[in-house]
Symmetry: C2
Subunit: 433 residues, 2 copies
Amino acid sequence: MIAVETVSIKNLYRHVGEEVTLQGWLYNLRSSGKIFFLIIRDGSGIVQGVLVKKETSTETWEKAKQLTQESSLRVRGVVREEPRSPGGFEIQLTDLEIIGIAEPYPISLKEHGVDFLAERRHLWIRTPRQSAILRIRAGIEHASRVFFHERDFILADAPIITPAACEGTTTLFEIDYHGEKAFLSQSGQLYNEANAMALGRMYCFGPTFRAEKSKTRRHLMEFWMLEAEAAFFDFEDNMRLQEDLVYHIVSHVLQHHRADLDILKRDIGRLEAIKLPFPRISYTDAVELLNSKGIEFKWGDDFGAPDETAISDHFDSPVFVHHFPVGIKAFYFKPDPDNPEVVLGADLLAPEGYGEIIGGGQRLDDLKLLEQRIEEHGLPQEAFEWYVDLRRYGTVPHSGFGLGIERTVSWLCGIEHIRETIPFPRTLYRIYP
Amino acid sequence: MIAVETVSIKNLYRHVGEEVTLQGWLYNLRSSGKIFFLIIRDGSGIVQGVLVKKETSTETWEKAKQLTQESSLRVRGVVREEPRSPGGFEIQLTDLEIIGIAEPYPISLKEHGVDFLAERRHLWIRTPRQSAILRIRAGIEHASRVFFHERDFILADAPIITPAACEGTTTLFEIDYHGEKAFLSQSGQLYNEANAMALGRMYCFGPTFRAEKSKTRRHLMEFWMLEAEAAFFDFEDNMRLQEDLVYHIVSHVLQHHRADLDILKRDIGRLEAIKLPFPRISYTDAVELLNSKGIEFKWGDDFGAPDETAISDHFDSPVFVHHFPVGIKAFYFKPDPDNPEVVLGADLLAPEGYGEIIGGGQRLDDLKLLEQRIEEHGLPQEAFEWYVDLRRYGTVPHSGFGLGIERTVSWLCGIEHIRETIPFPRTLYRIYP
């Protein structure tokens, strides 16, 4: 079988001096007349193949001449270390087999407009930069799961089709569920709380949806959230878990995706500067900080993106902003016993202006107060009956959080727009392809 | 912090002879007048706590008397091996702290009707049987990811909101996407193929949706699929990957979920009997087999659940049925070069009548034939332009498959109805809670 005998570009370092077979696509071809330089990609990385006319058969040389960008091919050759080559290795080609000649490729090596590329996202993802981002995304997702698995958190998938709204229905996608009105989930949290009462510690990871009519570089209509919820975890346990998770993710990416970060020209120093424990600042102190910088901001308001950037600019590591006013947080947050005007909730802001990547906190575990909050927020009691049940039957202190994968990918990759962080982004005016 | 000092029930075996603190909920309480037997659950397992009146303070004894089913509590005591106890350990209690007394619990230890339980799914998942199933589900999901990670498959999340339909629109949930008609995905496959051309080998794992008006014990409206797609993989590579995956999952569950399988009273012998390689039978031979058993079945028809059971009953391991007629498979299957009436597609049927758990095959990589198939199937050319592009630019042989998580959970847990395999099932008439 083809697949068994071949090696991946990312594993070439194990085969220095050996003759190997590679399969992939041609990313670029240069020629000096006597030598062809083939940049080959196989999804795991890119490598330069060198084909020397006088050392090869006429037949192979003629095949190389036919190659167009993105043609698929199989090559054979000896692996050499070559620090000047992308990836640090090179292949001295001895044989070349064409699998499929590509028609003239629409995405050339020059710059293209964003709409042009978005329309061709199925091809755009083949470019070194986009596939590096997707590999880092996969690395972040993998690292997260390993983190939770090692800490005995049980994966429990939250439902996507939901009857009630977590935080109002104006930003929900509605669907017709066999004649009944239903919505696409914005968060698994309420279900996570039920699962945490059954499983102790749990996490979920799935798509969430927000039908916002906004077009910013930080928002998608469909995005993936990693959420965790743990019984008997308080506000402090929760923040410690979050910083350990984020630190683990950063370390994983630095360790396993150096080549991808190089492709992205990411300033690695900024990631290496991140230290545990993460700094913490109360909402009230953050307001004071903003005001001291001449930024007008009133206690009780919610931060906008520029405010978040101004705050996080003060720190090298991600920073927790904690103890938000009751009024700007959802009904399920537990008030601070020492000051019921604020809640035991914290957001984690990424450095370098990437904004909030985590929102979380300790949940209301008191039956009476929860019922009161549901009423105050004008939410339909009946839809939340099951959620209130969690306080009727064996209530315990519990906490949780949600990490936005796409924002985390943006930050670690150091990219400007969130649309590049997911294979097929869903934006306000685009669901094709 | 509370969480740091306590141990999980699943880890009690590491603390025999030691005094430990546990947190959880009371599942059941029995008393002899002089001794209380508390069955405690914490999400990781269940354990019996023994509280002896003459060895405890009056205060602790009085607290135990107040406990109701599902009350939350913290206990302290010495761990003992006790083969007769559930889980094999017992705790000699020395102290007991009530966290929250539960109101009279609606789910008692007697039998309840299915509708009664479904309406209380948020509480039903706390019972030992349901949480064992959910832990096994998590184990299957974890094992799958480890499997793909070790084989250098890159996770690439497929979009949920899609413009076109993979296989007709009659069973799709429709949504209003900012004024544009869109659908919830039934499969990530077409996108997976694009991702495989960018990343080489990829997998995705997410929810998929089918708006079927049917009510069977094998179908949910919302279910999770593990899908893989690999460039340069042929039909054989693909089947080998599938059997390795399923074998890996079965082994993982047998190794790490013995206590959960015990709770479910699963016949472990049937799982231990599974061997590699899995048996294979062609569709044509399977038809003959059915006919030889007196089951009427015409070549060219699709198997129903009873047919699948009759076929799989012949084998101890999951069985591949391969080379289906072109007419009953989707447009993207590659025809067998030796016999274009059949395709290079295979279904994997689980033993014990659990039916199809995997569908997969080699994809059409020929541009002209793909365009022809799209026309033959009456599909909108325009919507599939991007998919056809994958054959215009560097087409390669490639294959993939999709494994239904809920069916796999049903089979490994040995349970009758698929609604118990996911925390919050979405069935024809129920989306609450």
